[in-house]
Symmetry: C2
Subunit: 197 residues, 2 copies
């Protein structure tokens, strides 16, 4: 969301509050404790990355990160759906491994979501082979390329070794190129406050 807002030139301040270590602090901003959460200028509290960006695109930004032609829009929505699914499955693996004692970890569940995670990246890699995404700017990446690049980086950071780098050369190259862009460098994965005015 931060990278898209930067690409859309929407002013914001990002405060990194953990939904685990910062649960109480987060709950005072949004009782549902759901990241990302956006607090609008009038105090309205939004959650869900797609919905926050829907607001930004509709109200705050003169531009858009979505293509206009129907077939291009469909392909971009497909890419974002695959990338969001990959992020969800990554988080489910992190939660299963990290948020319960070892004797409560259920291996068939880990197998299921790991299989879904790999399927999502296999689809993304195949789509990129059929139709490459340009990565020379966030405008060229669009929301599809931004979300795919962020998802790949997130998965590699949080569950390294789970999705093989060598089987996904196009995703790895997309992510590497994206991470070098100014918006990605300004809003790096992890801790730290990002502000754009």
């Amino acid at each position: 969301v931060a990278i898209s807002l930067l690409a859309l030139d929407v002013p914001f301040t990002h405060r990194p509050v953990s939904v685990f270590r910062g649960f109480d602090e987060f709950s005072r901003i949004n009782p549902v404790v759901k990241a990302p959460t956006a607090v609008l200028d009038d105090g309205t509290v939004l959650m869900d990355s797609s919905l926050i960006l829907q607001y930004a695109e509709a109200e705050a930004a003169p531009g858009t990160l979505w293509p206009g032609a129907p077939a291009d829009l469909a392909r971009s929505l497909r890419t974002v759906g695959l990338a969001l699914a990959a992020c969800e499955k990554t988080a489910q693996i992190v939660y299963e491994r990290g948020l319960r004692p070892a004797e409560k970890v259920h291996a068939p569940w880990l197998d299921r979501v790991t299989g879904q995670l790999r399927a999502a990246y296999a689809e993304l890699e195949r789509d990129l082979a059929a139709q490459p995404l340009a990565a020379e700017s966030c405008a060229a990446l669009g929301q599809a390329g931004i979300t795919a690049a962020v998802a790949w980086h997130f998965t590699q950071q949080r569950v390294p070794g789970t999705v093989a780098l060598q089987a996904h050369p196009r995703l790895a190259a997309l992510s590497a190129a994206a991470e070098a862009l100014p918006e990605f460098r300004a809003a790096p994965y992890g801790e730290g406050t990002v502000a754009a005015q």
Copy 2:
């Protein structure tokens, strides 16, 4: 998604394939096995309810289920975000209880997501008290009212007794009124094929 497509007058056929019992069948349609999945006329496979409806609103429908005024859009996006979070937390409870042996169930995780679920519905009920949603038609409900009504029904069906009916009279009334609408009756929760041409 089915109710919104009916309200938008977008033709579709709904096939209820379980992501558990129908895993293999589902994986042949979408290897990520993510419901809902939409197969467009040209074969493009989309997933994620918000993204599928973004396509429908952009390309397939002359109308919209979102308000135009910025403050109204923000409130609707907030409602949908809360309702989607409630659905996610409901699913997490169902999965924790139903997809692993009793000795693998982790009570602190159930407590965490149950608290988040109740927080989401407390916020929705408070929002409805401040600004009621009209329920005489799907057009009046908009995407906000449709998602809130569907979420409440889903939670009450899947984890009955978890979110108290008497503490949420406005949500209960909204859901009851919505379930009587033609689009809700045409696409009931549970099994069964829905087709609209």
